[in-house]
């Protein structure tokens, strides 16, 4: 589904990604862990198409070269990024925002607008999934939302848009354990054999709830180690220094 080959990215002449290789297949959950400043958020931004990066290498999504596509086209093709810091959009209600997103996607696929009653039904069902207060739907996107509400709103949008590949960028940061359970339950209910998740996190704790098939360690712009969920426990216990030492030893 997703093939990343030798992906490099820099911003203001500072190289952040230094040759990433990653393959994600349908039905898989990949966790990416790494210390601060290792390039985790840059990786998610580059996949989603944020401007301002100088990018080389290849990102293929179901055979299409993602780097050639505008961010909205990537979304229509099935990429979704749950933001680390969801953006407030004053004056645009959640409901209208979602209606526009869904209908733009349908237009791309040659489908007519979703009818009002189906839309509202879907909206309610998906809001239930992440236990989001229906009253928040009338409010401006993320405006005045608590940290937990913002993150739940990201997963709600994910549920509405049904992407093939969802990237969760530190969705667990700043969440208390109850909110974390709600968010994780939502994600687990959305998992199926046709979609895939890339979960970026600092904390192993999240991976108790969203159990990954693979864990990758991103350090200094490269994936330096990959393994199964046990790797996450090891990182939690020992930190990242032992990997650094391991790398140093290998380099000698």
């Amino acid at each position: 589904m997703l093939n990343i080959n030798n992906l490099k990215a820099s911003i203001d002449d500072k190289q952040i990604l230094k040759g990433i290789n990653l393959e994600v297949k349908p039905g898989e959950v990949h966790a990416i862990m790494g210390p601060n400043g290792s390039g985790k958020s840059t990786l998610s931004s580059v996949i989603a198409g944020r401007e301002g990066y100088e990018v080389s290498g290849e990102v293929l999504f179901n055979g299409k070269d993602l780097l050639e596509l505008a961010p909205e086209v990537r979304a229509w093709e099935g990429i979704f990024l749950a933001f680390q810091y969801p953006v407030e959009i004053p004056g645009v209600s959640n409901t209208n925002f979602m209606r526009t997103c869904i209908n733009e996607q349908r237009k791309y696929k040659g489908l007519p607008d979703m009818d009002a009653s189906t839309f509202l039904k879907t909206l309610r069902a998906k809001a239930d999934l992440v236990e989001l207060d229906p009253n928040l739907m009338k409010r401006s996107v993320n405006q005045g939302f608590s940290g937990g509400e913002k993150k739940r709103n990201e997963i709600f949008q994910l549920a509405m848009l049904e992407p093939k590949l969802a990237i969760l960028d530190e969705t667990d940061s700043g969440l208390d354990i109850d909110a974390l359970r709600i968010v994780s339950n939502g994600v687990n209910k959305l998992r199926n054999k046709d979609n895939a998740f890339v979960v970026i996190t600092h904390y192993q704790r999240l991976l108790d709830y969203i159990v990954p098939d693979f864990v990758h360690v991103l350090m200094d712009g490269q994936i330096v180690k990959s393994g199964t969920k046990e790797l996450a426990y090891e990182l939690e216990e020992k930190g990242y220094d032992w990997i650094k030492a391991e790398l140093k030893a290998a380099a000698l």
Binding site: A48, P71, A75, I89, G91, C101, Q157
Partner: protein, 437 residues
């Protein structure tokens, strides 16, 4: 050669015009105003208040030259009408009241008529109020307006009269491609406990220069809601001055919405003459392509326990020039004042200009005042957020701009007018986006 000798013959013509148009007390009032104009002259960029707004070529116009008189039956006002509002309507065409196009109203308690008629029938009302509030001693155009204006609307609500239909005044300029000079003088007197909703809509397909002065008196515990729309104003020019005088416990609510006109200067001034007044000013301006929209507001807190709230927003495209100058004056007696002002601008192109100047002058010590002015571009984080959810660049920009400007349109309390403006706003923003490409 000095300008005085060039002006002299014009001043004589203007004097003859006033003497021909008026008699009695009105004549002496108007001649006195003309003398004030002679001393003050037209605004020019050397004056601090007119630094950014220069009506080039105004000097060459003769403000007493009559505008074309059109056959009212050839004019279709329906295309300009605000749909869905059952209103009392006054229509002025090229500065003249068009009776056959209007739906006026008159009763014992409610007088909705014209300045020309009121001069004959309500001299008492005019004597008590006309020229008593607007600043003809300091503003040349205001003095000139008082001297020369032959018509305008006059509204008088007696004590406790509630006008349950809005009054809509359409000002239409049409029928010529020459720059004409039009002076209209309006007066609203809402006595104690009365309530009025007033909408002024300026429409033009002529390059008119409208010099409008409106005096609004809001009596004790009275309510006036006032909308000024410059939304289909073509290439017209305007200096529109609204001077509001508020009595005890009164409320005045204004929204000024401008997205057309080649050069527009709005002066909105409210004075709290007694305590416990409430005032709201909302403004929206959208402009590009060599248009200039200038809003000068003055909130004069003269008495204690008053509240004012002001929000002006603007979107400026390529070659557009916006000016906002918002002065809040809190005089020594105005203790316990609450005054809030905010001005936010989005610049769509670096060839656009915004001159934003909030001015707070506070002479009382127990007050709450705040102000803020911002000039920025569309937020790239917001834009990316929308795009990452599958909303294309152009649509995302329109959504964000509509939301930004919509905050002011939402302040319009008449639902039909709000819906009408919202629909037009989206069209206007799309047009601006297209011109931006």
């Amino acid at each position: 050669m000095s300008t005085d000798t060039l002006q002299a013959p014009l001043m004589e013509r203007l004097q003859a015009y006033v003497q021909h148009s008026a008699s009695g007390a009105q004549e002496s009032l108007r001649l006195a105003a003309l003398a004030q104009y002679e001393a003050l002259g037209l605004p020019h960029p050397d004056l601090e208040d007119w630094k950014y707004t220069n009506f080039k070529g105004l000097k060459a116009l003769d403000p007493s030259m009559p505008l074309p008189i059109l056959d009212e039956s050839t004019i279709d006002i329906s295309q300009y009408r605000i749909a869905g509002i059952d209103a009392i309507e006054l229509v002025f065409v090229n500065g003249r009241f068009a009776g056959s196009l209007s739906r006026p109203f008159e009763s014992e308690q409610l007088y909705i008529s014209t300045l020309a008629k009121a001069r004959n029938l309500r001299p008492d009302l005019l004597e008590a109020h006309l020229g008593k509030y607007a600043q003809q001693a300091t503003e040349g155009l205001t003095a000139l307006n008082l001297a020369l204006a032959n018509d305008g609307f006059v509204i008088h609500l007696t004590k406790n009269e509630v006008c349950d239909r809005p009054v809509v005044v359409y000002h239409l300029s049409t029928g010529t491609q020459e720059r004409g000079f039009n002076n209209l003088r309006n007066l609203v007197v809402a006595e104690a406990g009365s309530k009025l909703v007033l909408i002024e809509k300026y429409i033009s397909n002529s390059p008119i220069f409208d010099n409008i002065v409106t005096e609004v008196v809001v009596g004790a515990n009275a309510d006036v809601e006032h909308y000024r729309l410059q939304t289909r104003y073509g290439d017209a020019w305007q200096v529109g001055t609204t001077r509001v005088e508020q009595g005890r416990d009164s409320r005045y609510y204004n929204a000024t919405i401008s997205w057309s006109g080649q050069m527009v200067r709005n002066n909105l001034q409210a004075r709290h003459a007694e305590k416990n007044c409430e005032t709201h000013f909302f403004g929206l301006y959208l402009l590009d392509h060599d248009n200039l929209i200038d809003n000068h507001t003055l909130m004069d807190h003269a008495m204690p326990n008053c509240y004012s709230h002001e929000l002006y927003k603007g979107i400026v495209g390529p070659e557009g020039k916006a000016v906002f100058n918002g002065k809040v004056l809190v005089r020594p007696d105005a203790q316990k004042t609450n005054a809030y002002q905010s001005n936010a601008n989005i610049l769509l192109a670096d060839t656009g200009t915004v001159n934003a100047k909030p001015e707070l002058e506070i002479f009382a010590d127990d007050v709450k005042c705040s102000h803020g002015a911002t000039v920025g571009q569309l937020d790239l984080n917001e834009l990316f957020y929308l795009k990452s959810r599958g909303i294309g660049e152009e649509k995302a920009r329109t959504i964000l701009l509509t939301a930004f400007a919509g905050e002011v349109v939402e302040a319009v309390r008449i639902e039909a007018l709000r819906d009408d403006l919202m629909a037009q706003l989206m069209e206007e923003l799309q047009r601006m986006q297209i011109s931006f490409e």
